[in-house]
């Protein structure tokens, strides 16, 4: 079996975000890393929309990312620290739309290791040096400079190693143009390591260490080190030189501290806390991320706490000595992994989980009633400030980037009866969780819908002048009339446009610079800018049937297949050419290309005839198949034809503009958009109603829209999420969804949601009540009334948890719900709240053979589970009967078990439950589930159960798969085979009777198969001799599975399913990852295909090595050597290679570049989108 890996949707979670002028223009861009993907985003300052300019998969783990700019430069470079053992400097080339590797310096082994640098990066704010550090011991400093040709140069590394030292964070200190300086949060563990009593370990302090790069001596010195009182978690550089006081801010638990050299005393300010917070007040508060905004005159920092509250931090200075830190509550946004403040006044928030946001900073929070906290305010040790969180005041949300990350579970099924299956994805964490339904297609935003007096048959938009940015008129043609609408603030009907309103229109367009042309069945109307009208009438009884128009030319086809050609002369006059051309058959369609810049006319006309003779954008008018062909601009040859079935109706094509490029809107029974995006050709259906006619549309509100007609309505639409494969509908959930099952009769979903460190609704209400009572009690006699009012206000306060976060209850506190949901409407049909500290881990819907047709839902629940050090008070299996047509859960009984029931699977009219490491068969009893059979030989902890026939495939949390056979006549579960590799299985899916696909928590996917001569019929050892040497080699079974395929995805895979994604397509193995990616593994159908792709992969590995310096083959073999899988993500990078390299590679393969990219496209469209 050979498989081909294809990514359908790349990871959406963001791990780092940096901003800068990467393209070298005034506009700022954002570079984000999504684990193994580097992406360049550009927020449009006018519309506030974030566009993705470039996405590159780097086949390595991006561990750190920094932007830097050489002194006096205008362009930012990107430094990447990865697992490649190399430092890489990238430059964005806007002309080629690609990242170019400027430097790649090797310094160590590959992989994420303790002492190999890559984890931390810091740059000198003046762009003179970069420090790259490991978690332990090693730090390297590279000096950056320019050569005579103004190219960036990089020095050999300077070492700043210190053994036995852990690093927590590194930043470059802004010291102006003095020697570059780096500040590190470090901890020396040497003493603690050598002291067996553990006393030293308890007393070890974190230090703040400054490293100075002496540019004169070309040497790094450890300049100064100082122990810290609190344990810091990150550092913020304070602008220095001429811009500010220099130094660093240390963010630590509960405090933020300013430190600098010289006479500067430490300035410390507590982190304010929420008033009346349900969190444990003893728990410390930390800042998790920050952003700096610096202009010539001022600077401030925005720092976000782990609850999502952003504080604006300013420093008061007195002659370059900081005297005060001031904190002011700014706003609350979801907890971020990174934040960027842009010069245009936008704040980009890359959320830790869920969607990312772009906010506009509307106010700086300078003049409002919000209290400002200062380090100068007297406070007792351990005391802090309080503030009241509130909805957004200073920020305005302008754009939201969908992110599925984290995907915890996914099932693919056609529950909505749409002939294409939908992906039901449980994603998000805590109160920001959701169930999302993904459908293949582009999301359409409706800008306007208006009803028309009849059913129109065509629509066009025209500009008034060629240099106008926006369209001026919408022309709608009916069977016997034409309606002209003018576009302004609103769209309204006009009659003075010069268009003939009493006849249907065949086409209209801008002609020349400022004239308009209307083609109608009886003639052509040429409207000059000064409203003079020239008309050309058809001869005799002939009428115009088809026409093609561009800026200068008009071609019309009369009945009988006669073509008449007009061309505009320089004076703006439309002249008829006397020579007419008779076609052999009736004209079905015709088209003219736009006039190439600097030329008089377009050289080719494409005419489609009834007998299918001449075609350029070949369109078979009756079968709904789109052909996309390439027209050679010199010879006029047609080549590279690609065919796609679009729908059951004949296809109509419309030229529109999308993101500044030409795109084609194709309409059949479904509308499709064909466009080029990031050097890949996309053909994506629109998730919208059937449309009949369309035209591009540009106005101030909607610069790149489409005006379309559907029955008797006129619609203005916008397609904003180009490049997205799926459109999604999200339904909010309360806690992190863990698993769900589909009830086969009603198609309802039964979801279990579980959160650690959370309160249930009941406990929350109880705690709130308790706090309110305490508030009243604590008040003195005279303040009672006021306190009661405050308590009432507190009880009524209801801040949405999806933004403000849920209160953290502490370790070992769990909250769970079981939800029955309709997957189409997304409404909750039933909700069962479990008690505090009951954590639901598994769910199954099944029938029991002794109860007939009733459906039961079984939920495995752990009681009082503490994760570290692990302890559990036991578990329960809750049994519910599904009643009311699968809409309600009726509690039946609760069965106590000893350990966590983490896996449940229906099996032969009973259920198999994995209770910790015990595999048991349970039957439904009257008061509880009855244990009927047990196997105690699973290694650690059962994380999943699959069944087929009499075989049970158990996935162990650490020891891969174990095949168990149930012997009915002996009532025994006997292990007969297992795997030879230790895999930390997260999910598994059966491929056939002998084959199982599984994924592990390190991001590998494997397929293992029992050899054909495997024997199920093994017996229990009758000697009963359970001696140590009796358990087989390494606790294993005597028969072993074979590895069919191994592949490192690079992201933890949490769901696997074998399914078909498109109607009529072949089966593929679909996986979803924790970072929000969706991919498929598809089998090769022929040996030639496999051979071809293997060669493509081989050539690309050498011709187009990954961007961050990691070797592709070793990345895909991170944990297990890659076996029998070809990486389609690498193969598809063929399209983004430079043309000469493309040519070289394709010559090696005995093909042309278009043929190779066609093959790449074919295999994708055969299985997916």
């Amino acid at each position: 079996m050979f498989l081909y890996n294809l990514t359908l949707q790349r990871a959406t979670g963001i791990s780092f975000a940096i901003h800068g002028n990467f393209s070298g223009t005034k506009q700022q861009e954002i570079v984000v890393s999504r684990g193994k993907i580097l992406e360049l985003l550009r927020p449009d300052p006018n519309t506030g929309k974030v566009h993705t300019l470039l996405t590159v998969e780097v086949f390595g783990v991006i561990r750190s990312l920094m932007a830097f700019r050489l002194t006096g430069g205008t362009k930012d470079y990107i430094v990447v620290g990865s697992d490649s053992g190399r430092i890489v400097i990238l430059e964005y080339q806007p002309s080629k739309n690609m990242f170019e590797k400027i430097h790649q310096e090797t310094f160590g082994k590959s992989g994420c290791r303790r002492i190999v640098p890559g984890q931390f990066l810091a740059v000198d704010p003046k762009g003179r040096a970069v420090m790259i550090s490991a978690i332990e011991k090693q730090k390297l400093v590279y000096i950056l400079n320019r050569d005579a040709a103004a190219r960036l140069t990089i020095s050999s590394p300077l070492e700043a190693h210190k053994a036995n030292t852990l690093v927590y964070h590194v930043v470059g200190v802004d010291v102006g143009f003095e020697n570059p300086m780096f500040a590190c949060l470090e901890m020396d563990y040497e003493e603690a390591d050598n002291d067996p009593t553990g006393e030293a370990a308890a007393n070890t302090q974190q230090t703040l260490t400054f490293y100075e790069l002496d540019l004169g001596l070309n040497h790094v010195v450890r300049k100064y080190s100082e122990p810290l009182e609190e344990h810091g978690n990150f550092l913020i550089t304070v602008p220095g030189g001429s811009d500010g006081p220099s130094g660093v801010l240390i963010c630590s638990e509960n405090y933020i501290t300013y430190k600098n050299f010289g006479d500067q005393p430490d300035i410390r300010c507590p982190i304010p806390r929420r008033r009346n917070d349900l969190d444990d007040p003893e728990r410390g508060m930390i800042f998790v991320c920050s952003a700096t905004h610096k202009t010539k005159s001022m600077f401030f920092f925005l720092a976000q706490t782990e609850q999502g509250d952003i504080f604006k931090i300013t420093l008061e200075t007195d002659e370059d000595m900081v005297t005060e830190i001031r904190l002011k509550y700014f706003d609350t946004v979801p907890v971020a992994a990174a934040m960027c403040v842009l010069k245009t006044g936008f704040l980009f928030v890359a959320s830790e989980f869920g969607n990312h946001y772009l906010y506009q900073i509307a106010h700086l929070g300078d003049d409002d009633e919000e209290p400002e906290f200062s380090s100068a305010m007297p406070l007792e040790e351990g005391d802090t400030f309080f503030f009241q969180p509130r909805p957004l005041k200073n920020l305005v949300l302008v754009d939201e980037l969908d992110s599925l990350s984290p995907i915890l579970f996914c099932q693919i099924a056609d529950l909505a009866n749409e002939d294409t299956p939908q992906l039901y994805v449980a994603c998000g964490r805590g109160p920001r969780s959701s169930l999302r339904v993904l459908r293949h297609g582009l999301e359409v935003s409706e800008m306007a819908v208006s009803e028309l007096p009849g059913n129109p048959n065509a629509v066009w938009t025209v500009r008034r002048h060629i240099e106008d940015e926006f369209d001026a008129y919408i022309i709608v043609s009916f069977v016997n009339a034409t309606l002209v609408l003018s576009i302004g603030e609103t769209v309204e009907e006009v009659t003075d446009s010069g268009f003939l309103g009493t006849t249907p229109t065949l086409s209209c367009s801008l002609l020349g610079d400022d004239a308009l042309v209307q083609v109608y069945p009886d003639g052509i109307r040429h409207i000059r800018a000064d409203k003079r009208v020239n008309e050309w009438k058809t001869p005799g009884k002939k009428t115009i049937v088809k026409c093609a128009v561009n800026q200068r030319q008009v071609v019309i086809a009369l009945t009988g297949g006669e073509l008449v050609y007009f061309e505009m002369d320089p004076s703006g006059q439309l002249n008829e050419y006397t020579e007419r051309k008779e076609m052999s058959a009736d004209v079905v369609c015709m088209s003219l290309a736009n006039v190439p810049p600097g030329e008089q006319r377009s050289r080719f006309l494409a005419v489609g005839l009834v007998d299918n003779t001449v075609r350029i954008i070949s369109l078979d008018p009756s079968n709904g198949v789109l052909l996309r062909t390439v027209l050679d601009p010199v010879t006029g040859d047609l080549s590279d034809t690609r065919t796609r079935y679009l729908g059951s109706r004949p296809v109509k094509l419309f030229r529109v503009r999308m993101q500044g490029q030409e795109a084609v809107l194709a309409m059949s029974s479904r509308s499709w958009l064909s466009y080029s995006y990031q050097s890949r050709f996309h053909l994506t259906p629109l998730s919208y109603e059937t449309l009949e006619f369309a035209s591009g549309f540009a106005s101030e509100q909607c610069p790149e829209g489409i005006v379309a007609i559907s029955t008797n309505t006129l619609r203005i639409l916008a397609l904003e999420k180009l490049g997205a494969v799926f459109n999604q509908v999200a339904f909010p959930l309360q806690y992190t969804p863990r698993k769900f099952v589909i009830h086969p009769e009603s198609n309802n979903l039964i979801i279990i949601e579980t959160d650690h460190n959370a309160y249930t609704e009941a406990t929350k209400a109880q705690r709130k009540q308790q706090m309110a009572e305490e508030m009243v009690e604590a008040a003195g006699e005279d303040e009672r009334e006021l306190a009661a009012e405050m308590a009432a206000a507190f009880l009524n306060e209801n801040l949405p948890e999806s933004i403000f976060g849920a209160p953290k209850a502490g370790n070992g506190q769990w909250a769970s719900v079981i939800r029955v949901m309709n997957p189409i409407q997304g409404n909750t049909l039933d909700l069962v709240q479990l008690e505090q500290n009951e954590a639901a881990f598994s769910v199954a819907v099944c029938r029991f053979s002794n109860t007939g047709e009733d459906w039961y839902v079984l939920v495995g629940v752990a009681k009082d589970l503490i994760l570290n050090p692990r302890s559990v008070a036991g578990g329960f299996v809750y049994t519910y009967k599904l009643v009311n047509n699968g809409e309600k859960l009726e509690f039946l009984h609760k069965t106590p078990v000893e350990e966590v029931p983490a896996a449940i699977a229906p099996f032969q009219g009973r259920v198999l439950i994995g209770v910790g490491k015990l595999l048991r068969v349970y039957d439904l009893g009257k008061k509880k589930l009855l244990r009927k059979c047990e196997n105690k030989h699973i290694a650690n902890y059962i994380s999943g159960i699959q069944t087929i026939g009499h075989r049970v495939i158990v996935s162990d949390v650490q020891e891969s798969f174990i095949w168990v056979r149930y012997k009915r006549n002996e009532n025994q579960l006997i292990i007969f085979a297992d795997d030879t590799y230790p895999r930390w299985v997260t999910t598994a899916s059966l491929l056939d009777y002998d084959t199982v696909a599984g994924a592990d928590k390190f991001g590998n996917i494997c397929v293992v198969r029992l050899p054909p001569n495997t024997n199920d019929e093994v017996d229990e050892d009758p000697t009963g001799n359970k001696a140590l040497w009796d358990r087989g080699l390494l606790n294993g079974a005597s028969q072993k599975a074979e590895v069919i395929m191994n592949y490192h995805v690079g992201e933890t895979v949490l769901s696997l399913q074998k399914t078909t994604l498109i109607p009529g397509g072949s089966e593929s193995l679909v996986y979803t990852t924790l970072s929000g990616g969706i991919g498929i593994l598809v089998p090769f159908t022929s040996h030639e295909d496999h051979d071809f792709f293997q060669h493509v992969e081989m050539h690309l590995r050498s011709e187009h090595p990954p961007l961050c310096g990691r070797d592709h083959l070793s990345f895909r073999s991170y944990y297990f050597p890659v076996k029998n899988v070809i990486d389609g993500d690498l193969c598809e990078q063929f399209n983004s290679m430079e043309p000469n390299k493309q040519k070289n590679v394709s010559e090696e393969l005995d093909r042309t570049p278009p043929e190779v990219s066609k093959k790449l496209e074919d295999i994708r469209t055969r299985y997916a989108f």
Binding site: G925, L930, I948, H950, D1021, G1032, A1037
Partner: protein, 224 residues
């Protein structure tokens, strides 16, 4: 670490060679004359007391001893242990026109029959529970009917079961009457829900299995 043989100790190499040859020759052990156990060991199915042997080599040695014992002192005894072999032998004997030919055929047959490397002593050619190529996750498998006749009344012999079963299914896949089938199903249902026949025609509860508190007697055979 390497798995290369170190040194030039020829005697060690010879031992290894002999073991390898022994392993290869072990494929001459008929499937139903040994049992494979869960932990990879083997039980000899010829000896009535079912001795358990750790490795294939030991099983071969054990069988060599048997042949010696039965071959010298009680000829024919070994064969009699195995009804299938007896049948085969008898079948061969009845049409034995050319005894030499029969003998050679028998030898070739047994040689070809066990040709693949000996992996499991009791490999089935017939696997009733294996479903077709499609993966079905239905909780109810096709009902398993492959018990030896007369098993209900008698106490099932735990070790003799599989071979007897094998011979029954392979030699005579006779259609079963609906009543029989129901009775068999009922037997399996009772066994799998934790009831054990006590050998005197009654059913007792397995002490490791849980039952409903009012469940004193096993359910009767359904009448329909």
């Amino acid at each position: 670490m390497s798995f290369k043989r170190e040194g030039d100790d020829w005697s060690q190499l010879n031992v290894l060679k002999k073991r390898r040859v022994g392993d290869l020759l072990a494929s001459y052990i008929p499937e139903d004359e040994a049992l494979m156990l869960r932990d990879g060991r083997f039980a000899c199915a010829i000896c009535p007391h079912r001795p358990v042997l750790d490795t294939l080599a030991m099983l071969t040695a054990h069988r060599a001893g048997l042949q010696l014992f039965y071959g010298k002192k009680q000829p024919g005894k070994e064969r009699k242990q195995n009804p299938k072999h007896q049948n085969e032998l008898r079948r061969e004997e009845t049409k034995a026109e050319a005894p030499l030919l029969t003998q050679t055929r028998l030898i070739t047959q047994s040689a070809l029959h066990r040709a693949p490397h000996y992996n499991s002593c009791c490999r089935r050619k017939y696997r009733p529970e294996a479903p077709g190529p499609s993966v079905s996750l239905s909780p109810m498998p096709p009902s398993e009917v492959k018990l030896q006749s007369g098993k209900i009344s008698r106490e099932p012999e735990p070790a003799a079961g599989p071979q007897a079963e094998e011979s029954a299914t392979v030699s005579a896949p006779a259609p079963m009457s609906p009543t029989r089938r129901r009775a068999l199903d009922h037997y399996l249902t009772l066994r799998s829900s934790g009831w054990i026949p006590d050998g005197r025609g009654r059913w007792v509860k397995d002490e490791n299995v849980e039952f409903d508190s009012d469940e004193e007697e096993p359910p009767d055979l359904p009448l329909d």
